[in-house]
């Protein structure tokens, strides 16, 4: 039984018909073609699918779409403003924090929430802020560097 919901993604309202069991990642990737949000495990374990819901980082594979009526969702497609990269995106490039890059979108959004809540985090706060996200390439060092760089560039 499908229900129609209005869902605000990156400041654009989409009308989508969803099943009760439809997760946010499914709606993003399979209905709306928003492919920046990656599926890594579908079980809340890797963080590749992290998005912001009302500014809070959540796993979109563990979030039912039906719960999102009236909420504001941000994905990586919504991070760029007027063609300009978010400071976090630029910092990930400048710090060489991207290897295979599959975890990058999720981690950047976890970092976005962190910097929104705490503009000048120390290293431990940064590490804690991204501890819900796995990366298998970088050992996180350059990611931590990138978030420090983004914080400094504000």
């Amino acid at each position: 039984m499908k229900q129609i919901i209005n869902i605000d993604i990156n400041n654009e309202v989409h009308e989508v018909a969803v099943e009760k069991s439809d997760t946010l990642i499914r709606v993003l990737r399979e209905r709306l073609g928003l492919l920046a949000t990656k599926r890594g495990c579908d079980s809340g374990g890797c963080g590749c699918c992290t998005v912001l819901v009302d500014g809070q980082a959540v796993y979109s594979c563990m979030t039912f779409a039906l719960s999102l009526e009236g909420k504001k969702i941000t994905t990586v497609e919504g991070l760029r403003h007027d063609g300009k990269l978010d400071p976090i995106q630029q910092a990930f490039i400048d710090a060489d924090a991207v290897q295979c890059g599959y975890c990058t979108c999720g981690i950047m959004l976890a970092a976005r929430q962190l910097l929104n809540d705490n503009p000048h985090p120390d290293e431990e706060e940064i590490r804690k802020g991204i501890s819900g996200n796995l990366c298998r390439c970088t050992g996180y060092q350059k990611i931590v560097d990138a978030i420090k760089l983004a914080a400094a560039s504000r």
């Binding site: 492919l35 920046a36 990656k38 599926r39 890594g40 495990c41 579908d42 079980s43 809340g44 374990g45 890797c46 590749c48 990586v76 497609e77 991070l79 760029r80 990269l85 995106q89 990930f92 490039i93 400048d94 710090a95 060489d96 991207v98 290897q99 295979c100 890059g101 599959y102 975890c103 990058t104 979108c105 950047m108 290293e123 940064i126 590490r127 804690k128 991204i130 501890s131 819900g132 996200n133 796995l134 990366c135 298998r136 390439c137 970088t138 050992g139 996180y140 060092q141 350059k142 990611i143 931590v144």
Partner: protein, 776 residues
């Protein structure tokens, strides 16, 4: 050579912008109109015969378009490993896509294509399979016993492969020893944990040709193995090279079940078919083989080796696949040849069990060997009171020595001693405290390990492909396009190839672009594996760029009325060497080369010459000249909580003879990421299986823990030693795998230094620490 402009600098990764803005080009994002979705039914039993299989109910389900069983697939066995021919003599051919005999829990027995994933999954439930259960065995040594359950008729005692190497006189060597050390070192099954699942989309045309996109490490390997599995000519398979993939680490170095299944379902339905692993399916695909190493070493009082006997037992699971090569690499490069010992015997066993199939994983048999040998080396030094740094130097190779594995080759560049000395100095090794002397409940320790011999590719290995190719095309705007089948698996191949071509042509890095490639249009390239891409693919790319430059000079010679041999290319300008007034922008030469034969200008028609005409391109397809050895030493400081058994790694110093450092930040990234994998291996990662059913119990990241940013050390320092290898492109050797080979042994030795008790089995969990301390 000394005035490199691009190599050695931190150029921006060409793929980074795309990846931070969403990364559209991962295979997981690839789709085609009208695409169907495939799901696989897997065996719930570790060993069984299929008596009957009834798919009629599944076929009738609305939305199902096709069902496959073993009856639809070729029963001609092959090796699915990408880097060797499908029927390579050095490998064991025992692999088919589906069969009426299942040998591990999770083996595919049927597959469905449907209009949605949900329908395909629902259809799996409707397939009725009748099994006759057979006895199973999950431990390699039990499997070697007489009377153990046999998976394969022709493998006596379940031994798939039993290679040996020997030198000198073992008995005399042990007789000459002042001390003999014996130990058993056990490693576990771990997964690469690439973040992008294995995924593919296969499409067929009306003449039975296949086009396929897949998340894998080898375009041409997939072409060959898929053609073999389907029984069609290779030229009927076109593999699209993904612009990048979401990690590989050796875990995508063989054809999976999904590619042939998707291709067969596409042939059956005429539709494109997509198949994507769940994380649970990924966890039962291609893991690092567990190896148990029995190690006996004889030494003189001064620490000189006199004899060594090594027996390595590798659990390859239900099919030999990678296990028939991992055992060789483990023997050659993991245990036997890294160390200098005149009297040695190594015996390897690749053993069938009813566990999941092992696979490739960064280091390919060497992490297991390094853990064993370097743990024991530490024990020897401790027991005899020897300087552990001198001990390593004494028993390893020297620069200029003959290459221990490759006849006719030398260790042209080899700086292990420098790695050891610089690493030791940086971490303050001379001040480390005696083992177990730390007081308090949280004890600090420092330890290290080195790995004295590794590869920069596969020259010298029987049956292993080792050549690369590239086509470089210069554009009229002064940029260069590069066609190569080399896959960037996350470790920076795009950046490296860009740097090589830009350096050779004397143009900016951002003027070079890697363009679309597939197996129809690009020259062959061996896989991105074996730490080979920079040394091997870099060699071919440099040669292709040099060819293009030569062609540019031919055209320029006609335009400039000069000899091609006298020309040089600098900063985008062609000039007669030493005469900057002669400089002509390369864009002008390329423009002339590609212009109409006669150009109308304000001054009237200007004819050009035949010598100027034609696109400026260069192509190369070649194997590299050698297989130089990098080497590395890693020092770590740990804190062991003797109340909880928890180990924290505090500080890491890694020193590596890299040949030439191409991109300092990327190189550090390899070290840091390599350490994350090695630390997971050392302390926490372990795929667990139900010992009754063989079912994997670690099906997601909640049950299979890998280090997060919180567990990782706060300081990882890299020291790169540039020995400038004469056979490498711009002096390069290799980097990637050693970064993962040494950490486990280094951490184990640091733990010993902290608590004075040795753990010889990975992972070194809190439980094992407490047991070692007699607290459990």
């Amino acid at each position: 050579m000394s005035e490199l402009k691009i190599i050695g600098t931190n150029v921006t990764r060409p793929d980074a912008y795309d990846k931070v803005t969403g990364g559209k080009q991962y295979p997981v994002n690839f789709s085609l109109p009208g695409m169907l979705h495939a799901k696989i039914l897997r065996s719930p039993y570790p060993h069984a015969k299929i008596l009957s299989i009834d798919t009629s109910a599944a076929e009738k389900l609305a939305g199902v378009r096709a069902v496959l069983t073993y009856k639809d697939v070729s029963q001609r066995p092959f090796t699915p490993v990408y880097f060797v021919p499908a029927q390579a003599k050095s490998m064991v051919q025992d692999f088919v896509i589906m069969s009426d005999r299942v040998r591990w829990t999770g083996q595919p027995v049927a597959a469905v294509a449907a209009v949605t994933v949900d329908i395909a999954e629902a259809a799996l439930e409707l397939i009725d399979v009748e099994y006759e259960e057979l006895p199973a065995v999950f431990d390699a040594e039990q499997a070697m016993q007489d009377g153990a359950p046999q998976s394969w008729q022709n493998a006596t005692n379940n031994i798939a492969k039993n290679p040996t190497f020997a030198c000198g006189d073992l008995e005399a060597g042990f007789a000459a020893a002042d001390h003999i050390f014996e130990g058993v070192y056990q490693t576990q099954r771990v997964h690469t944990c690439y973040m992008e699942p294995r995924v593919c989309v296969a499409d067929s045309d009306t003449q039975g040709r296949i086009k396929i996109m897949s998340s894998m490490q080898h375009t041409f390997g997939l072409r060959e193995k898929l053609a073999f599995a389907l029984g069609i000519p290779e030229s009927h398979v076109n593999v699209i090279k993904p612009a990048y993939i979401g990690g590989g680490f050796g875990g995508k170095l063989d054809i999976g079940f999904i590619e042939p299944i998707a291709a067969l379902l596409s042939l059956k339905t005429g539709k494109p078919v997509r198949a994507e692993h769940t994380r649970g399916e990924d966890f039962i695909s291609t893991t690092r083989n567990p190896i148990k190493v029995y190690l006996k070493t004889g030494v003189k009082n001064d620490g000189t080796y006199t004899a060594r006997h090594i027996k390595s037992i590798l659990d390859c699971g239900a099919h030999a696949t990678h296990g028939s090569e991992v055992i060789m690499v483990h023997g050659l490069y993991g245990t036997f040849f890294p160390w200098k010992c005149a009297n040695q015997t190594w015996e390897g066993f690749t053993v069938y069990t009813n566990n999941m199939i092992g696979g490739g994983y960064r280091g390919y048999g060497a992490p297991q060997g390094c853990f064993a040998v370097e743990s024991q080396n530490d024990e020897i030094c401790e027991a005899l009171g020897l300087d552990p740094l001198e001990f390593r130097v004494k028993n390893t190779h020297k620069e200029g020595d003959p290459h221990p594995v490759l006849p006719g080759h030398k260790l042209n560049t080899y700086r292990l001693q420098e790695c050891l000395e610089k690493g030791a100095e940086r971490i303050g090794f001379k001040d480390r405290k005696p083992a177990g002397s730390a007081t308090g409940s949280k004890k600090h320790g420092i330890g290290f390990a080195c790995h004295p011999l590794w590869v920069s590719g596969c020259v010298g290995f029987p049956d292993i492909y080792e050549h690369s190719g590239a086509v470089v095309k210069l554009n009229r705007d002064g940029t260069a396009d590069v066609v190569t089948a080399c896959v960037d698996i996350g470790s920076g191949q795009i950046t490296m190839l860009t740097q090589v071509v830009a350096e050779e042509l004397g143009i900016a890095a951002d003027a070079v672009k890697l363009v679309y490639a597939d197996t129809d249009t690009a020259p062959f390239d061996a896989p991105t594996h074996a730490s080979r891409a920079t040394y091997s693919a870099g060699t071919a790319a440099r040669a292709a760029a040099a060819e293009a430059k030569k062609r540019l000079f031919q055209a320029a010679a006609a335009v400039m009325e000069a000899n091609a041999e006298d020309l040089v290319l600098e900063n985008g300008k062609v000039m007669v060497k030493g005469d900057s007034r002669s400089a002509v922008p390369m864009t002008e030469i390329i423009e002339r080369a590609e212009s109409p034969f006669i150009q109308m200008t304000d001054q009237g028609p200007v004819p050009t010459t035949i010598a100027e005409k034609g696109s400026i391109i260069g192509a190369a397809s070649m194997a590299p000249a050698s297989n130089p050895s990098p080497c590395a030493a890693e020092f770590v400081e740990v804190e062991v909580d003797t109340e909880t058994g928890e180990v924290k790694v505090l500080h890491v110093v890694y020193a590596h003879d890299i040949g030439r450092l191409f991109h300092p930040k990327s190189a550090e990234g390899q070290v840091e990421g390599g350490f994350q994998q090695g630390m997971g291996y050392a302390l926490m990662e372990n795929l667990l299986f139900d010992q009754e059913t063989g079912a994997c119990l670690s099906g997601d990241f909640l049950d299979y823990k890998i280090p997060t940013a919180m567990e990782m050390p706060r300081r990882i320092e890299s020291i790169f030693i540039e020995s400038i290898e004469p056979t490498g492109p711009f002096g390069a050797k290799s980097l990637s795998e050693l970064c993962t080979i040494v950490p486990a042994a280094a951490i184990a030795n640091a733990i010993y230094n902290a608590i004075g008790v040795r753990v010889r089995e990975l992972p070194i969990t809190p439980e094992k620490i407490l047991q070692a301390l007699g607290k459990l």
